[in-house]
């Protein structure tokens, strides 16, 4: 049933000349930025590394620093070394027992903070 009377009706593709108009953003996840080593990806990674490095160094400085300060305290204030607590000389009690739970607590705190940092980083990257 083609009608030869209407040969002028045909579909024409019309392209808009407004190519610079704003369009919907193509999803380009930050994980790809990181994978492809773009400037933006490097910024993301630097922020993560800096945060984790600060956490690690801070923990070592506070815990190991305060434990390592003990010999200095023993030298400068010898009276401390003669103290007794629970029947044990203080240096023995500190170095032979109390430091170990402190280390475990510090480690637990570090693991919690480091995992939180990574979780926040993952959320940041996945949101963008």
């Amino acid at each position: 049933m083609t009608s030869p009377q209407r040969p002028h009706t045909q579909r024409v593709v019309v392209t808009s000349p407004r190519t610079r108009a704003p369009r919907a953003p193509r999803p380009y996840p930050a994980t790809r930025e990181i994978d492809e080593q773009s400037e933006l990806g490097a910024v993301y990674m630097r922020s993560l590394i800096r945060a984790q490095r600060r956490l690690g160094l801070l923990l070592c400085a506070v815990v190991c620093g305060s434990v390592a300060g003990l010999p200095l305290v023993f030298t400068l204030v010898p009276a401390v070394t003669a103290q007794r607590l629970f029947g044990l000389p203080l240096p023995w009690l500190l170095l032979g027992g109390l430091v170990f739970p402190v280390f475990v607590l510090a480690g637990w705190f570090y693991v919690r903070q480091a995992e939180r940092g990574e979780r926040e980083f993952a959320e940041l990257v996945e949101r963008s």
């Binding site: 994980t31 990181i34 994978d35 080593q37 990806g41 490097a42 990674m45 993560l48 590394i49 984790q52 490095r53 956490l55 690690g56 160094l57 923990l59 070592c60 815990v63 190991c64 434990v67 390592a68 010999p71 200095l72 023993f74 030298t75 070394t81 003669a82 000389p89 240096p91 023995w92 170095l95 032979g96 027992g97 430091v99 170990f100 739970p101 280390f103 475990v104 510090a106 480690g107 637990w108 570090y110 693991v111 480091a114 995992e115 990574e118 979780r119 980083f121 993952a122 990257v125 996945e126």
Partner: protein, 569 residues
């Protein structure tokens, strides 16, 4: 002391290890891929395995011996061994796992992509491994000697043979389970006797451990000398028995006057109840009261010695070749952290025990101060304090645990050493290359046991830590946290820190002690290593390895992002 039960315990541990090794061989054959199988290991098993491998001769017998001789300054050994894991947790655990490295040279290559950095790291890992293996063999010799009177080389040879056979058959490598079991065995072996020792001490009237007197014999004691020993007598004592003192044959009651004396090998002297114990010349003068105070050891520069020890142990743990291997069996960086946290707890519990042996030894085994076999205090104490069959069984338990310590640490070290040797030095591929390397890896320290003097086990382990802390620790810490480190800087830093520490260690071992700046080098070699690595890197900015950002993504990005950069792990 009847030694039958002790020998049975040692043999049981040795045969048990061989058996489980052979069984593990069958398992690892049926399991298509050992690494895949290992990745199903939970943090608890993994942490027990790390503890089992880490608690060595130094931890089991050495620490107690040093505390017994030198007092609370030596508590820094267990504190440092544990703090080392905290530093490892905070600075390297997760990135190290994510790097996918199986050995330290692997990490060096993954991070720097340079064969030179890898080669230097390999040589250092070998040096550290051998320095660490040597005291394990010595400790084994001491244990068998204490039990049976056999010459020192018998125990060293026994451990060497058992471990080599095991590693060659491939059993130990795959069995995380064996190492995990060894931790609980060691904890039992050292903790159960402690309960009885404290009960016995209470039953004997809970005598003061820190009184103002010199150590005295609390019963008539026969002291046997197996080598020529120079002793210092602080109070004159009258002894019976026979032997050669100051070159003269003596027999019967003789007075030993105040001052220095030499007692020849083979002498058997009997000291009466209440006599003051003469001390080996290398142990400083201390009453029990001054012994119990820190920084009174009578050494020169005690503060320097303590801080050097702190630096070496806090930073050295991460550079030990057998520690890093275990991190590979974690499924990911997160599990690596959790494993390390559990390790901290397991080590903390174990290290509560050795100081108790060291302190009680002052009362019950003071003759070890005279023979200089201070490392034997853990082995001798149970049968000395608890009478009868109970004491003998406890002694056997301790001996078995000590042997487990030598076997597990040596196995872990041998596997990583043989791996480094076959891949980086001999360049032999395949099973045969690994077996040849294993034999070579054990022959070197076995040969060294003939050359070294009477250096306490824990001191020698301290030297291995010092080398690790001054060379491989800067490589790991700076490599993981700074993008500026260059290949030139890495090599320069490792050499600048590692070579002086290694030389100082070898000098100390061959001389059997000596200058504190050489015996405890970490306080100056560690800063040297770090500074040289960083400064040389800043001076050679063009030598930053290409693709460093890519490596950093691999080391630091959490696994759950699904990055392609981490796919090949």
């Amino acid at each position: 002391m009847s030694s039958t039960y002790g020998i049975i315990a040692v043999l049981a541990v040795a045969f048990g290890t061989m058996l489980v090794g052979a069984y593990g061989l069958r398992v690892s054959r049926t399991t298509s891929d050992f690494f895949v199988a290992s990745r199903t290991v939970s943090p608890w098993w993994n942490a027990s395995a790390i503890g089992g491998e880490y608690l060595s001769a130094a931890s089991f017998v050495g620490i107690a011996g040093l505390i017994f001789a030198h007092g609370p300054d030596m508590l820094w050994f267990p504190v440092g061994y544990t703090a080392g894991y905290l530093v490892l947790l905070a600075l390297v655990a997760a990135p190290l796992r994510r790097s996918g490295a199986y050995t330290l040279p692997d990490f060096a290559e993954a991070r720097f992509g340079s064969p030179v950095v890898r080669a230097v790291a390999s040589v250092l890992a070998l040096g550290i491994g051998w320095l660490y293996l040597l005291p394990q063999l010595q400790g084994a010799g001491l244990t068998l000697h204490t039990l049976t009177g056999a010459p020192d080389w018998v125990g060293a040879l026994l451990v060497a043979v058992v471990v080599t056979a095991n590693v060659i058959s491939g059993g130990m490598r795959s069995v995380t389970f064996v190492q995990a079991f060894q931790y609980w065995l060691k904890l039992t072996a050292i903790a159960v006797p402690v309960v009885f020792l404290i009960m016995a001490w209470q039953a004997h009237g809970a005598r003061d451990l820190t009184g103002p007197e010199l150590p005295v014999f609390h019963r008539e004691t026969t002291v046997t000398f197996d080598s020529d020993t120079s002793v210092h007598v602080d109070r004159p004592v009258v002894f019976r028995g026979s032997g050669v003192v100051d070159g003269d044959r003596v027999d019967g009651p003789v007075e030993l006057r105040e001052g220095d004396h030499t007692i020849a090998s083979g002498s058997r002297l009997v000291f009466p109840d209440g006599a003051t114990v003469p001390r080996v010349s290398s142990i400083p003068f201390n009453t029990n009261e001054t012994w119990a105070l820190p920084l009174r050891g009578g050494e020169s520069f005690p503060l320097y010695a303590v801080y050097s020890l702190i630096i070496a142990t806090f930073l050295g743990t991460m550079g030990l070749p057998h520690v890093i291997v275990r991190f590979y069996t974690n499924p990911n960086g997160r599990a690596a952290r959790r494993t390390t946290l559990i390790v901290l707890g397991l080590l903390g519990i174990f290290y509560l025990m050795p100081p108790i042996y060291g302190a009680l030894g002052r009362l019950y085994t003071p003759e070890l101060l005279m023979t200089g076999d201070t490392d034997a205090v853990v082995l001798v104490l149970p049968s000395r304090m608890v009478d009868g069959l109970g004491g003998q069984l406890l002694g056997a338990l301790v001996a078995g645990g000590a042997f487990a310590a030598f076997l597990s640490t040596s196995s872990g070290l041998m596997v990583s050493l043989a791996g480094v040797l076959s891949r980086d030095v001999l360049r032999l591929r395949g099973i045969r290359g690994f077996r040849v390397s294993t034999v070579l890896a054990v022959l070197v320290p076995l040969g060294m046991t003939w050359l070294v003097g009477k250096v306490p086990v824990a001191d020698m382990v301290g030297l291995a830590f010092a080398v690790a802390a001054s060379s491989l620790c800067p490589l790991l810490v700076l490599g993981i946290w700074s993008t500026r480190i260059t290949t030139v800087g890495a090599v320069a830093g490792m050499l600048a820190g590692g070579v002086p520490a290694l030389v100082a260690g070898l000098v100390t071992i061959s001389a059997g002690g000596g200058n504190v700046f050489l015996a405890r080098p970490a306080a100056w070699t560690v800063p040297l290593g770090f500074v040289v690595m960083y400064v040389v890197s800043l001076l050679t900015p063009r030598k930053v390895p290409p693709g460093v950002n890519h490596v950093m993504v691999r080391l630091h990005a959490p696994e759950n992002l699904g990055l392609r950069s981490q796919d090949r792990l």
